[in-house]
């Protein structure tokens, strides 16, 4: 091979890679590395400039009770939203995947929560949850039941946000399930029907396993979303009362932009990134082997 020609081939290759590489490096790799680097330094003030402290920030984090509270909140939040919204999504998709009158209207209705901007959604639910004048308390009032400050009570604030998130996410996941269901050949159901399989048996033995690739995709997304929730908290509770509804990313936001401790925020971010990476890898490795891809 001619050396100049060989060189040109390499140049072409790199030129073609450059746009994607720039985007990835500038917005993914560099920020990740920079965050990790920053987490090793102390918070800088006018008097005491930032200096290298090694793992001191991580030590502080382990001793920070709010961090643990936020992390536990987040686990409850994930455990409360993901299974229910996935189950709801499958159910809704099965419901609207049949020929029934007003089918497209129904599909749209299920999908509407997803189209609405997060802030608008949060405002709607803020009205639902408001004490006394809110929708829920008014309906309770009709039946002579006492109202409740849903977002003001540490015991009910997290469940209240979980309910709202399920409402918003189930419709979104439904779209993926609907697409997957429409890819199933109708003969499979007919073949099962001829053998006398009940609807539930057919769902359990055929539909659900064939939906597994979609479920994996949805699960990864749902877990990422549950750790990425900020906007709702911002409008509804600001993490309160007493951090009862505070989640990891919102805590990071508070540290960075309310307390201006960017180094501690970077430390928390590193932990969040590591956790997400481990979970994504675990899902792909453990579930992938059991999934049938067509």
């Amino acid at each position: 091979m001619h050396p100049a020609y060989n060189l040109m081939r390499h140049v072409y290759g790199w030129l073609l890679l450059t746009p994607a590489a720039i985007l990835l490096i500038a917005f993914t790799h560099y920020p990740t590395v920079a965050t990790f680097y920053e987490s090793l330094f102390s918070k800088g003030t006018a008097i005491r400039p930032s200096r290298f402290v090694g793992s001191a920030n991580y030590q502080a984090m382990i001793e920070d009770p709010i961090f643990w509270k936020v992390l536990v909140n987040n686990l409850w939040f994930a455990a409360g939203t993901i299974p229910v919204s996935v189950a709801l999504a499958i159910t809704m998709a099965m419901l609207v995947n049949r020929s029934l009158p007003g089918r497209s209207f129904l599909r749209m209705a299920y999908f509407t929560p997803t189209i609405l901007p997060m802030i608008a959604v949060a405002n709607i639910w803020l009205f639902f949850y408001s004490p006394d004048i809110g929708l829920i308390d008014q309906i309770l009032g009709w039946f002579g039941l006492p109202g409740h400050n849903w977002l003001g009570d540490p015991a009910t604030v997290l469940p209240a946000i979980i309910v709202m998130t399920i409402w918003k996410e189930a419709g979104f996941f439904m779209i993926f399930y609907l697409a997957a269901l429409q890819n199933l050949p109708p003969e499979l159901e007919e073949a099962a029907k001829l053998e006398g399989a009940s609807r539930w048996y057919y769902f359990r033995r055929v539909v659900f396993p064939l939906l597994m690739p979609t479920t994996l995709f949805v699960l990864v997304n749902a877990i990422l979303n549950s750790f990425k929730l900020v906007d709702h908290l911002f409008v509804l509770t600001k993490g309160g009362p007493d951090n009862a509804s505070n989640l990891l990313l919102y805590y990071i936001y508070e540290n960075a932009f309310s307390y201006f401790d960017t180094n501690y925020a970077a430390t928390l971010t590193v932990v969040l990134l590591t956790m997400l990476a481990i979970m994504a890898l675990a899902q792909f490795f453990f579930l992938d082997r059991r999934i049938h891809y067509r």
């Binding site: 007919e190 073949a191 029907k193 001829l194 399989a197 033995r205 067509r294």
Partner: protein, 337 residues
């Protein structure tokens, strides 16, 4: 007694009558082919027998029982789909056993039926494969094994060979026929391929536009086609159907018969007779198919072996009177001459 009796069956798709007053009987242990061009309603009839399609009129009886409104699973039928309908996430074994597990057949019984079915269709080595790892013919065999283990007296087949290549098709055709006879299945087989119908059927039901054109054995349909459509649908190349008025031969007085049909293999070359021009010559080895033109009509002739004719040649053709079929202006058979 597990024959099938179809009486005045109707299926309406909005304005369109997809199946229009169809009646026929399938005797126990015989193979009936529903034959016709696409859109003639043959698959719809099959699906109505299976119970996968609702019946808009008429009745379906299987084994003397009226099953018209019965659940598909209770009709005692198994079915092979054009796409085979194998479950892609299950291996061959699980695919074959699916129905038996649904019906809660004893594990021991399941195993013995599986072993038997797998041996019959030659899938012993492939039990742990997924459908995606099988060839078209092997998938077809899995679908067949599924019908065998089902132990149902009636088997319905919806164009089971249309996804296979020509060589495999002939092989699987023999296999299906062999299975049907050895298990004494009452089989209804849907196809648009007249070779399949000719070679397998005990009885052919020829359909067009949702209506029955003719019912009979392959021989009857071939030798005494009821209409010009039947005449041209069976046989390759199809029968030549020519307007008598345009033929110079004076053999046929005008007794209302307007069309003359003659099979390509009954045409002989001669020194005198109908004058035709050769427009194409297809040499097939054992035979040669000549495409001939007579005025504005095209006709085919099948000649044994090879011929020296080339396109543009002028030839004369003759045929025997007893090989002629006559059809009325409406295409209805007029009786042999």
């Amino acid at each position: 007694m597990t024959g099938i009796e179809i009486t005045h069956l109707v299926k309406q798709w909005g304005e369109l009558r997809a199946v229009d007053d169809v009646s026929f009987t399938v005797d126990e242990g015989t193979l009936t082919v529903l034959l016709g061009p696409s859109g003639c309603g043959k698959s719809t009839i099959l699906r109505m027998i299976a119970g996968l399609e609702t019946v808009d009129g008429g009745e379906v009886h299987i084994g003397g029982r009226n099953v018209t409104r019965q659940d598909p699973a209770e009709r005692g039928v198994s079915m092979v789909f054009q796409s085979y309908a194998l479950f892609p996430h299950l291996n061959v074994r699980e695919n074959i056993l699916f129905g038996l597990k649904v019906r809660r057949v004893e594990p021991k019984e399941r195993e013995s039926r599986l072993t038997n079915a797998v041996r019959m269709v030659g899938l012993e080595a492939l039990l742990d494969r997924k459908p995606a790892q099988l060839s078209g013919g092997q998938r077809q065999r899995v679908a067949l094994a599924r019908t065998v283990v089902a132990n149902q007296p009636v088997c319905l087949m919806d164009e089971p060979l249309s996804n296979l290549d020509a060589k495999l098709r002939a092989e699987m055709r023999d296999e299906i026929h062999r299975l049907q006879r050895s298990l004494n299945l009452t089989m209804v087989y849907v196809t648009h391929d007249q070779t399949e119908a000719m070679s397998m059927a005990d009885q052919v039901v020829l359909l067009k536009d949702g209506q029955i054109v003719q019912i009979g054995s392959p021989g009857e349909l071939y030798e005494q086609p009821a209409t010009d459509f039947a005449a041209q649908f069976l046989g390759t190349p199809p029968m030549n159907v020519l307007p008598i008025a345009e033929l110079e031969t004076q053999d046929f007085t005008s007794d209302g018969s307007c069309f003359l049909g003659i099979r390509p293999e009954k045409i002989r070359l001669a020194d005198s007779g109908l004058a035709v021009e050769v427009s194409a010559v297809d040499y097939m080895g054992a035979e040669t198919v000549l495409r001939l033109r007579h005025h504005d009509n095209t006709l085919m002739a099948r000649i044994d072996g090879r011929t020296d004719a080339v396109p543009g040649d002028h030839l004369h053709i003759v045929w025997s009177r007893e090989d002629v079929h006559l059809f009325s202006k409406e295409g209805i058979r007029l009786g042999d001459r």
